[in-house]
Amino acid sequence: MQLLEFLSRNKAEFFTLLGEHLMLVGVSIGVALAVGIPLGVILTRRPQLSPPILGLANIFQTIPSLALFGFLIPIPFIGGIGARTAIVALVLYALLPIIRNTYAGIQGVDPAVREAGRGMGMTDRQLLFMVEIPLAFGVILAGVRVATVIGVGIATIAAAIGAGGLGVFIFRGVATVNNTLILAGALPAALMALAVDFLLGRLERRYAPGGAGLAQTRPA
């Protein structure tokens, strides 16, 4: 009850922070898609690159988020205090699931389908856009879902470097030992993560093998 009271009294600030939070996640996922999907596709064409690139993306994943934000601050151009640094960090976290799932999804396309496409005279580009990406779509979407849910969580920590978002309430609550404030940041963030998970999950099932969006992959 205290929570609802707090939120209704601070409606304007809440919606500003919520908007900032959505912006941080949206922009970083957008950039991660623009970088990660092409990278994943390149890995399927040059598999020898996959250990170093996936390894590097994996390393970013293991750095604690607070530490990564801290590391980035002194770096020129991408660093500093504010949303830009936070977005760079969020992109780095989102890359691994997107690259990995793009790569795995395309690798998982039935070799007979790929051979038939090539044998029928599809160019590499036609094979990619007409066959491989559509068939890998469900798997790629699963990666996007994981990346987005992680992003919503990590974006709360972005408040520590002045990037705004729902984390502002949380840090303020921790500093003033005020549970209501902590909840005012944490609960909406958790709900946002659940909502993203639910919506992308539904979309994913539609495009998964056997779903309604695509007919099944080749049955035995």
Binding site: G117, G119, G121, P219
Partner: protein
Amino acid sequence: MMTIGDPVVELRGVGLRLDGEKEIVSDLDFDVRPGELVVLLGRSGSGKTTTLKLINRLLLPTSGSVLVEGVATTDWEPTRLRRRIGYVIQDVGLFPHFTIERNVGLVPTLEGWEAERVRERVRELLDLVGLDPSVFAERYPAQLSGGQRQRVGVARALAADPPLLLMDEPFGALDPLTRLELQRELARLQDRLNKSIVFVTHDIREAMLLATRIALFQDGELVFIGGPQEFLDSDEPEAMAFVRALQDTDAVR
């Protein structure tokens, strides 16, 4: 059967060696003439499928040359070459996210045919392979039986009216009755359309039923080529082994 005209496919001393390993095929020399159905027969791993892939340039020879319509595959633009060659494989490789209509119409669409012409062509082809277009055109591959999918595979290979078809054990995964049915239909289709076909199988009965000539492969080499009767009369040891297998199955009955 005598055939006239220049060969559609010519292999001249063709060999393929991967990364300094043993040759997968070596010193292949044979022609495929217009209207002829050449069966590549041999045990698993004898180089039959490799030979097919050398013809549509999925592989390039490391020695000798493969000529299609008189032009070396190395000089063909790969996609142009492949669109002139129908390709049917055992796993069919239908696109699971395309309707049957889109699957069959793929090469004409890639070739830039108008939508209406593609649609008509698809209907004609589905009729030709014994599938009612009004029933099957809008279905997805997963909704078809194995035999039906293979019929679609044949229709798709014929779509842009290629002079040459390559078929890699197309009926290998089917039950014996469906297989026989499709073999008979292919023989009829072959009489009617007069395509040149290169057909890979390890099944001697299938070879005897379909072949104008049989090319027998053993360990990557061509050990015999000739008509079915010549094959039966051959004293080539591998040919005799296949003929014995044929007689053994007859003797069981």
